[in-house]
Structures are given as C-alpha cells and as structure tokens.
Symmetry: none
Subunit: 129 residues, 4 copies
C-alpha cells in the first residue's frame, strides 16, 4: 500500500490522496473493512501536513469510500456505493469529451484511447469478477 504524492503536479495534494485511495479500493488492493494508516502516520510517511491528509480522509468519508470510527481510525467502507448521480455522470461525460478533443490535438487516435480504457477497466474489474 504505497502512496505516490507529487507536490509539483498541479493536482492538489489532498486530491492525489483521494484518487489513490479510490484507485486502490477499486482495484481491490484495499479491501472493505481494512484499516487505513492513521492521519499522523500517513502524513509523516509521505512527508505532508497532517491537516492535508485529514482533509483527504474527510472528503473520502463524504463520498462514502471510507468510514471513520472515533478514537479508532479510518476504515474502507464495507459496501462500496455506486450511486447513479446524473450530475456526476454528466461531469464525467464532459471530462471524457475534453480528453477526446485533447487526444485529437496530441495525435492520439481513437484506437489507442479504446485500448487504454480496456486496460484501465481490466485493472479494476478483470481480476475479481
């Protein structure tokens, strides 16, 4: 369970933590019920301010990816929610549209995009379902 945080990216640090936890959960690297490192531990491990880790954990809890139990720690939620939120869906659609346009300018063809989607999807679902 490794975190790769890059302060040089323009993605906020707390957002990078969120993304990586969600990725690890989706891939099954983090199992439901499993304990996450404490705020203090993770913050010292990736050399970052505890508040930043805390912010990431709170957002993850809001998204129901993790649950925090007072005085005990934070844990991966037992049942991962897959709520169909129309707004969220539209946001993803727009991001994807922009990605396709950007790919066009970067000389990446549709076939490559399709292969990448296959690859990422396989990483998430292929090995367990």
């Amino acid at each position: 369970m490794y975190f790769h945080i890059d302060p040089k990216k323009n993605v906020p640090l707390y957002e990078q933590i969120i993304q990586q936890v969600k990725e690890m959960v989706a891939k099954g690297i983090l199992q439901p019920g499993e304990k996450l490192p404490s705020v203090r531990e993770l913050s010292s491990r990736i050399v970052i301010n505890p508040n930043t880790v805390s912010k990431a954990y709170q957002e993850l809890e809001r998204q129901e990816v993790i649950v925090t139990i007072r005085g005990r720690g934070t844990f991966i939620n037992e049942d991962v929610i897959q709520a169909k939120d129309p707004k969220k869906t539209e946001a993803i659609r727009q991001t994807l549209k922009q990605t396709v346009i950007d790919s066009h300018y970067a000389g990446i063809d549709k076939k490559t995009i399709m292969e990448w989607v296959e690859e990422f999807d396989r990483e998430l679902r292929g090995d367990r379902e």
Copy 2:
C-alpha cells in the same frame, strides 16, 4: 460561432474559452484561416473581463491553434499541429485512467464509456474524413 461560458463551473473562464475554440476547430466549425472575434468584441459579447479573453487567446497562440497578425486580428492556424509530445500523452493517459476510476464509482460501465468515446470521436472526424 457561439460560446457557452458558465462562471459557476470550477473550470476557469479562460480555460472554458480555450476548450471551446479547440472543440470548434477540431469539429471544423472554425475553418483554418478563419478570423476570430477581437478580444474586445468577444469579451463584450460573453460579458467577461477582456483580460480573461486575452489570456485565453495567448494560451491558444502558444499551443499554435491560432495566430495573431498585428493590426489584422487573430486567425485559426492553417495547419493544426498534431505533435506527439510524450508528456502530453502521459497526461492524457492519466486523465483517462482517473475518468475510468470515477466511472466505476459512478456506476458507469465500460460499454457506456466506449460509446461516448465513439460519439465524441465521430463528432471530430466523421463528417470530413
């Protein structure tokens, strides 16, 4: 040639302009050599600070999507560059990966993603190639 700018989105205004110009060029709505509205005209039309439009145009010129000819105006570049920049490619790959993960949490399956990619790609290339 219509712009849909939404200040409520968390995408910066200048970025929204950039995206829409690039989309219109990629779709062929804006043809090479075609003249863009002046900074002042566009800024008054979409009710936005001229500096913001100016920033968007500067960035578009840096990306070689448009060219500015002093005293004449700004125009769509004659040949759209499709440079294969490894950094840009990797950035797109990462964005796509995150989109696939987000889709997983939003309950959007691979099939839907694939269809969307098809749809967006068709909009860009289908009608002219």
Copy 3:
C-alpha cells in the same frame, strides 16, 4: 433490554448508551428500581471499552436517571426527575429550531414533523398514562 450501538455513527458511543437508557426508562421498558447490568457485563456484551460504559453510567448518575449503590450495583432511579432548567429548555428549543430548518432543506413538511412528534410522544406516554 437490548442495546444497539453503532460505532460508525458520529454520536459518541457513551452518548448512544445514555440516549438508549433514557429512552428505555422514558418508555417504561426499564422500571424504577430495576437493576442495570454491571459495567463489565455490559461492556463485554456490546463489545466496547469498559471505560466508555463507565463514562455513560457516570453521566446518567449525574443526570439522576440512575443511582449507584456501592457493592450492590446500579439501579434506575425511583422518581424520574423532570426539573425545569431554563438552560436545558433553551438548548432543546434551539435543537428543535435547527431540526425544522434542516427539514425545510430536506423537503420534509411541517405535517410530517408533527406526526413524528405525535408518534414519539405516544411511545413515551401513551401506553401508561
């Protein structure tokens, strides 16, 4: 006499115990003079730290809901106090106000709130008075 403790709730564990004891007393499920399980017994039954149970009992005793007789155990107080504490009254008023506001945002109308109050009140008083 069952306890339903949920560590995932953001209500502290000791507070959940307090609330449930008070509810059972108010409903008549726990009768005046009745013996409560010992700290050790209850803590092992609901799988919780004994200190947490102890804290709940101490607070219940402070509120004169229960009394502890050294060497004999803890018991429901013979006469439930209904002291009119202006501070407490104001606190309840404020909580209720916030609940009405939250209901407004949650799309719950006044009628529903009234029905719920009726329902909860009936559970407390209806069956015995």
Copy 4:
C-alpha cells in the same frame, strides 16, 4: 445580515456559520443571487480565522446552498434544492426522537413542542408563501 457566533458553544464555529446562513436563506433574509460577504470580510467582522469561514462556505457550496464564482465571490444559489435523501430524512427523524425524549426529562410537554414547531415553521414559510 448579522452573524452571532459563540465560541463557548460546543457547536463548531464553522457549523454555526453554516446553520445561520441556511436559516437566513430559508427565512428569505438572504435572497437567491445575493452576494455573501467575502471570506476575509466576514472573518474580520466576526473575529474568526479566515480558514474557518472558508470551511463553512465550502460546506455550504457542497450542500448547494451557495455557489462560488472564481475571483468574484460567493452567492446564494438561485434555486434552493430540496432533495429527498432517505439518509438525511432518517437522521432528522432520529434527532427529533431524541429531542422528544430530552423534552420528557426536561418537563416540556408535547403541546409546547408543537407550538415551537409551528413558530419556527411560520418563520420559514409563513411570510412569503
């Protein structure tokens, strides 16, 4: 548009801000589209750290009570959402239940509770609908 923040309450400062904004919006004191004081202004006005105000505003935006426009400020949302979230509804029900129980111990009868609900509800809806 006055804020009454009391650091002595055990309700977090940022939560007090959230509650008061929601109350003012529900009462019509703050109209849709109206601008809220900037983070810096409000923080200096109620003598509180800007980060605390910022946290309150971000949570209010998440709840779609306000919208923030980059570089311009924060505004009351044009259409107040009244989403029926079962979890939220259940949480309100539980809070109300606890309030009724607490009222029982405080010697407050059902009639008083009903009157208070009437009073608070009138403040929210009575004057405009």
